[in-house]
């Protein structure tokens, strides 16, 4: 029982963080068709900016300023980089962001060193909220939960309920027509990219101290964010949310399971002493999301909730 409760609690928190990270990518990917490989790098920037801002001010200021800074960085990247390669198609865009990820990694190392920085949870939130089955539950995780839900609602509102959201959506399929109606499409794209990056930055501010802020954080989160977005389905915020949750729960609960493959498939004659039988579910946790990705793409190329092929 307690295993289940903890697995769910942790899975949900991890899932929400994944969602925060991937919502920005969903936004960019679905609005502009750009597969932003550097997305996790903007997540990293968020964490580092917050760390630096916290030295001079406090967490709450960083929580607002850092994502804005990351968003501005994203806008600059769009304006002077992406826009130039846009005409040459999605592969060029993708490669551009691929290279950008390398660059951001290196620049981060210059400014903040090659090892982890001590970016800490704010003291105000650094207390155990309640105790469950003998383990304390830190308040910060509930804070993550709240921010993520807030973000989901705000994004959903922005996309579905405002005219700006309508323009963005129309611009994806009919960029020229939207331009002829007098809307500045390049500008919109720049804003969308900036907003997406800012969301990644926000996830960085919040995730950086929950996990660890080091130059490897981008590389480690990068692929999994793609999994979330693609599995969820292109352009589908709901899909990204569901996929993030599934992956969060899947990975966390896999770690909590003590069984090995032999225990599960034992009746098929798989011996615990064989190598395959000896593999534990817990050790399979890192590969589960990718298994999910491959299976989903093969069965449903539109993703769980998407309406377009990736």
């Amino acid at each position: 029982m307690e295993t289940v409760v903890f697995a769910v609690l942790n899975g949900v928190i991890y899932g929400l963080l994944l969602f925060m990270l991937s919502s920005g990518l969903t936004l960019i990917f679905s609005m502009m068709g750009v597969l932003n490989f550097a997305h996790a790098s903007f997540y990293m920037l968020g964490a580092y900016f917050a760390y630096t801002l916290m030295e001079g001010s406090n967490f709450w200021i960083a929580l607002f300023i850092a994502p804005v800074l990351v968003g501005l960085a994203g806008m600059v990247v769009e304006r002077y980089g992406l826009r130039k390669v846009h005409a040459r198609g999605h592969v060029a865009e993708l490669l551009f962001t691929f290279g950008l990820a390398y660059l951001i990694d290196e620049v981060v190392k210059i400014f903040w060193g090659r090892t982890a920085v001590n970016y800490k949870v704010p003291e105000l939130l650094d207390f155990p909220l309640f105790t469950l089955y003998g383990a304390q539950y830190p308040a910060y995780r509930i804070f993550i939960l709240l921010v993520a839900i807030l973000m989901l609602v705000a994004l959903w509102y922005l996309l579905r309920r405002t005219r700006a959201g309508l323009i963005i959506q129309a611009a994806l399929t009919h960029p020229h027509m939207v331009g002829h109606l007098g809307h500045n499409v390049p500008m919109i794209f720049m804003m969308v990219f900036g907003a997406g990056c800012a969301l990644a930055g926000l996830a960085g501010v919040i995730g950086g101290n929950y996990f660890i802020t080091d130059p490897a954080m981008a590389v480690q989160m990068g692929p999994i964010v793609f999994v979330v977005v693609v599995v969820g389905g292109l352009g589908s915020l709901e899909g990204a949310f569901i996929a993030a949750m599934i992956i969060g729960l899947l990975q966390t609960s896999a770690v909590s399971i003590n069984a090995s493959l032999a225990d599960i498939f034992g009746f098929l004659g798989l011996a615990g002493t064989s190598e395959v039988g000896g593999i534990t579910i817990a050790s399979m946790a890192p590969m589960l999301p990718f298994l999910l990705l491959v299976v989903v793409l093969m069965v449903r190329p539109t993703g769980l909730m998407g309406d377009r092929e990736v």
Binding site: L35, R88, Y102, L103, I279, S283, F290, P301
Partner: protein
Amino acid sequence: MTDMTTTYVDLAPSRAEKFRQRVLPMILFALALAVIPLFGPSRSTLTLLNHMGINIVFALSFNMLLGRAGMLSFGHAVYLGLGGYFCVHVMNWIAADTGIWGAVPIFTMPAFGFGAGALAGAVIGWPSCRRAGTPFAMISLGVAELVAAAGFMFDSLFGGEMGISADRMGGPEFLGLSLGPLNEVYWYIAFWTFVGVVGTYAFTRTPLGKLSEATRDNPERVEFVGYNPQRVRYLVFIFAGAFAGMAGGMSAVQDEIFTPENLSLVPSGAILIAAYVGGIRYFTGPIMGAIVMTYMGSNLSDYTAGWLLYLGLMFVGVVMFVPDGIAGVVYGTWDVLRSGRLNEVAAGWAIRLLGLALMAVSTITLVEVAFRWSDGYGEVFEPFGLELAHGSPLTWVVIVLPFVIGALLLRRVARSESEVTS
């Protein structure tokens, strides 16, 4: 008088032309490979050359996918890795002298890698080649992560963190090569690099090779001339896997170890960069890319801590401004030289070169100063006796001024050129 037996216009290039365009470069390439040892390369040079050979074959196999068939793979290292792993196992069987293995020369490893890579391509390609475009790219990414993760789980196959090592000095000698010292390994690598280059080139000349290009350009139309584009992609994928596996076999002998990281996204990304920087639209592009990137990857780090940053900058620069890569520049220059238009463009080129050089000066200064500042050891960047501390105004002059001038020069050339063409 015209030859009456020819009832059609022979469009194929003449014999002489064929020789000049196809055979001659291969002969020159073989010659170059054969001549290099005469310079008495040091051990480090030999290591570098061997890695270049491996990466040339690897990059060419990658480009069978991206450049030729338009399939962007983020997991091509999987096939090099699986081919290489298989060869490492074979080398250990040879060393153990079990069954017939004792009679197999280590020299033949790339052939085994070729087979293993093809098999891996056939198995993994079956599901993944059913999709093209971005779904294919994403699947390849997922597969790479999956295989790499599996690499850490199945110790008896992949050796876990430690990987699996082998000794290249087992089995019967072939062509008198013990493969112990590096200069003997060089001959081995040179031989197989040549085989790889000829093989991948020959592939482009086959009906399937041509069809893969057609499928890249217009998969839909291919269906209406009788081909199944999925089938075309799948077959190309198997061949790309096979040649990657061959590179794996070369690497197994050179490095004598394979670890699960060999299967991961990192080497896959590196070869993508190498091929792209070299120029994916040209057959020789990946070769140039592999040579340049291998050199930079292994030697640049000796000169500067910022080598990764330089690589990143170079890649982004190529993506943004030189989409045809190094090969594009080389061929473009060559065309101009040959057609004797050098004097027309010389001025523009000179200005452009100057602009680029100025921008490079300022970028290098910035990076070097930044890295020294970041190290915190108080070291100062001192090019040509100039003292450029991060705090000194001179430093910032050297960073800002050339950049601005260079950018202005480049813009001017770009503008005047676009006027000429319109």
